[in-house]
Symmetry: C2
Subunit: 210 residues, 2 copies
Amino acid sequence: MRIGELSRLSGVTVPTIKYYLREGLLPSGERTSPNQAQYGEVHLQRLKLVRAMLDVGKLSVTAAREVLAAIDSPGSALHGVLGVAQSAITPRVAASDDDNWKAAEDLVTGLVAEKGWHVKPTNPAWQAVIQIMATSRDLGQDDLAALLGDYADAAERLAAAELAAIGRRSDVDSQVESAVLGTVLGDPLMAAVRQLAREDASYRSMVGEA
Amino acid sequence: MRIGELSRLSGVTVPTIKYYLREGLLPSGERTSPNQAQYGEVHLQRLKLVRAMLDVGKLSVTAAREVLAAIDSPGSALHGVLGVAQSAITPRVAASDDDNWKAAEDLVTGLVAEKGWHVKPTNPAWQAVIQIMATSRDLGQDDLAALLGDYADAAERLAAAELAAIGRRSDVDSQVESAVLGTVLGDPLMAAVRQLAREDASYRSMVGEA
């Protein structure tokens, strides 16, 4: 199909498709003349994935490009792709050397040890968790620290369920896509579902049902 | 204290503090001369909260201002402030009328009914959940739909734990701040903790421990 048809089917405007092509988020079409290229089902599917990453997952173009490169690298093993995808979507945080940071670091290290989690020190999520706990401490609020174990339990259960769902897929490409979407769409999904659950919990507490 | 001291104690530059003052994120100091104002402990604490919302929670200035206004409104009841805070941080999503959207809407309505959750139709999280499920469907991936119940269970447990922690605080102001931080910092915290849990689950599955 031509770019106009790709635009119609995907609901993405032609200038935006051209932007994705320039940014390397979408592979080039097959050139049929100097000014024309043909696109196929693979482009349509990729375009949907790009929109999911940018619009719903709120990834930056750079992060989306890294995730796609990991998906496309030949012979991608699931563990490796997952690592790249997660690393790409986690904002980098610089460590600090103040007391709140150190206390938060101890708290997170203690949690990981207690759970017996195998996580590399290079996983950027370490620093992200530490930053949030340090911020909470700096504000004199210790509720998040008290709830950290509940967060870890919930995260562990979800990770096991996710991995089981991924394992039920037969081919590696489909496993990789499921794992990436679980990360890219799974975080905003959890945030939104929590809002519904919070409204319910807050309502019940207000009416004395809690 | 003068603005320079406020800057030193908070680690926020003077131009940034002036920007927050202009944007209404920080209340004015007490004017002691045409070019000078005095700031107090309340400004320092508010500055930390603003940084937490913008830098860690990734809220927009507009969303942060709405949350602060809710916190500051006299006689704020917890349920109301929570609603405003959640509403401010949830991106608005326009409904669509395609088949995937309708199917996703049925799925989410069914979930809320099954859980017996009391949530108003105006909670923007409804649309956010529907958008994510519709996107996942559009990509031909049904793993997220299969996991939606696990997400809801996890969210429900966390909401109950959060609310219990909030209830242990004696004064309303402190309850409100805890509830707001649970929302603003709690979502990125969950995302980061999930990344650690996913790396562990993926590692165990790779080495055959799962």
